[in-house]
């Protein structure tokens, strides 16, 4: 339950950061997606049932500050968390390679998903231009920044649960 006290304000701040401070790091039409990095990091560190509420709430907060229908990001994050739980082991916060590769794949998938949603609700999306103009810079920036987020989330988790052996070593 203690993760909710930290998690909800944290996710609200992350959603706000994505629309304010993170826009300073935009390159061409893409930029870092802090919410996606937080959800991926959380999913890599904790059990599925703990990660799912974060995925839903994170998606809702993100969509409230976006043009896409509320719940769209939640659905993606939920599926992402399930896939991570099925195919990847739970990690130590010192892990390097898996978070980077996971966020790379997740960013591409999330961007394609969001563009599909935008097309469905009537926003024009130039299909080939977004690959280089939006997806490429977003993926690179997320892969560069994910370790900072992953270790921060690991530290938050270690603070909340000092007894977890995988986080203390």
């Amino acid at each position: 339950m203690s993760t909710y006290y930290v998690g909800i304000p944290l996710l609200i701040l992350v959603a706000v950061f994505d629309t304010t401070l993170m826009t300073l790091l935009w390159l061409w039409g893409g930029g870092p997606n802090l919410m996606l990095m937080v959800i991926v990091s959380w999913a890599l560190l904790v059990d599925l049932r703990e990660a799912l509420p974060w995925a839903i709430l994170g998606g809702v907060f993100r969509d409230l500050l976006s043009e896409i229908p509320t719940g769209s990001s939640s659905l993606f994050f939920v599926i992402l968390v399930i896939v991570i739980d099925l195919y990847l082991p739970k990690l130590n916060w010192r892990s390097l390679l898996i978070p980077i590769l996971t966020i790379g794949a997740a960013t591409v998938a999330y961007m394609l998903y969001i563009f599909a949603i935008l097309v469905i609700i009537g926003w024009p999306v130039p299909k080939f231009a977004v690959l280089t103009y939006v997806i490429l810079p977003s993926t690179i920036e997320n892969m560069l920044l994910v370790l900072i987020v992953f270790r921060t989330i690991g530290a938050v988790l270690a603070f909340l649960r000092p007894s977890r052996p995988s986080l203390i070593d």
Binding site: T19, L21, T23, S66, E67, L75, F115, V125, P126
Partner: protein, 282 residues
């Protein structure tokens, strides 16, 4: 094994159900009141961090621009000298126009009649291809959907969503944006559209029309979505469209959309209601 799997499957099914239910409720509008209420604290926080973001952005931009500022200053001083003569001439023409307009009792909605609400830019849409900014003024300040948004450098966009304390503005640089315009020198009509890269392009100008590089482009007031005579930008290199039916030209806006901090919302723009003409005759 079963006891472990069961809660997991329930959690997965429940999460997917909640997400899909949220999407459906949001699409049909049932969630709108809840979304509006939930956005209030988010808008409050956006206000705080938007200011921090703006400060960082403007400080770094100022530092980067110090070198070019001297040269730019010299160019502007030269331009100012040229424009001063033009302004004097324009004042004479305006005086003549006002005298003649008074003679024929011609009344129009002019810039002096506009009522502005100044608003801070507190955030941007998180979707990369959507060029929408969030402002900290809403219905409590008299803002309504459709209100034009400007700066002293020209047109910014139009209010598309509004809550009690904030609103969303679709920028003219967005791909879905279209502004009916008039070329200042030749008076030809056209349409300014946004692009994926955040630039604006003049298009649908008659193929026989003459487009003069560096000519100013102003809103025409056609279709009544924007008041007339707001500066939209300046033409660069005109070309014929691929199908050779229209002329088009890339444009430069005087507004720096990446560094917008404060904008003005025109709250008393009331378009002429033409909807009655669309109704079927009995």
């Amino acid at each position: 094994m079963l006891t472990n799997r069961s809660p997991r499957s329930t959690a997965i099914s429940f999460s997917i159900f909640i997400s899909i239910a949220l999407i459906i409720l949001s699409l049909i509008g049932t969630l709108s009141p809840v979304e509006n209420v939930a956005r209030i604290p988010l808008t409050f926080l956006q206000n705080i961090f938007g200011e921090i973001s703006t400060t960082i952005n403007s400080t770094s931009a100022e530092l980067a621009e110090v070198r070019s500022l001297r040269q730019r200053n010299q160019e502007l001083e030269e331009a100012l000298a040229a424009f001063q003569a033009e302004v004097a001439e324009s004042r004479e023409i305006r005086n003549d126009y006002e005298r003649l307009a008074a003679l024929v009792n011609y009344v129009t909605f002019t810039r002096d009649d506009w009522q502005f609400v100044a608003a801070d830019v507190i955030g941007r849409d998180s979707s990369p291809t959507v060029r929408v900014i969030h402002l900290n003024k809403g219905t409590r300040d008299g803002v309504e959907i459709g209100d034009p948004v400007v700066t002293d450098q020209g047109l910014v966009g139009r209010v598309t969503q509004v809550s009690a304390t904030g609103c969303e503005v679709l920028l003219i640089t967005d791909q879905t944006s279209a502004v009916e315009v008039r070329l200042q020198s030749t008076r030809d009509l056209g349409l300014v559209r946004g692009t994926l890269s955040g630039d604006i392009v003049l298009s649908f100008v008659d193929a026989d029309a003459q487009i003069i590089p560096n000519d100013l482009v102003l809103t025409s007031g056609a279709t009544q979505r924007f008041p007339p005579d707001i500066i939209v930008g300046q033409i660069t290199n005109p070309t014929l469209s691929e199908d050779r039916l229209f002329r088009e030209a890339p444009m430069v806006s005087f507004v720096d959309f990446n560094r917008l901090e404060i904008v003005l919302i025109i709250t008393n723009w009331e378009p002429v209601d033409l909807a009655v003409f669309d109704e079927d005759e009995p």
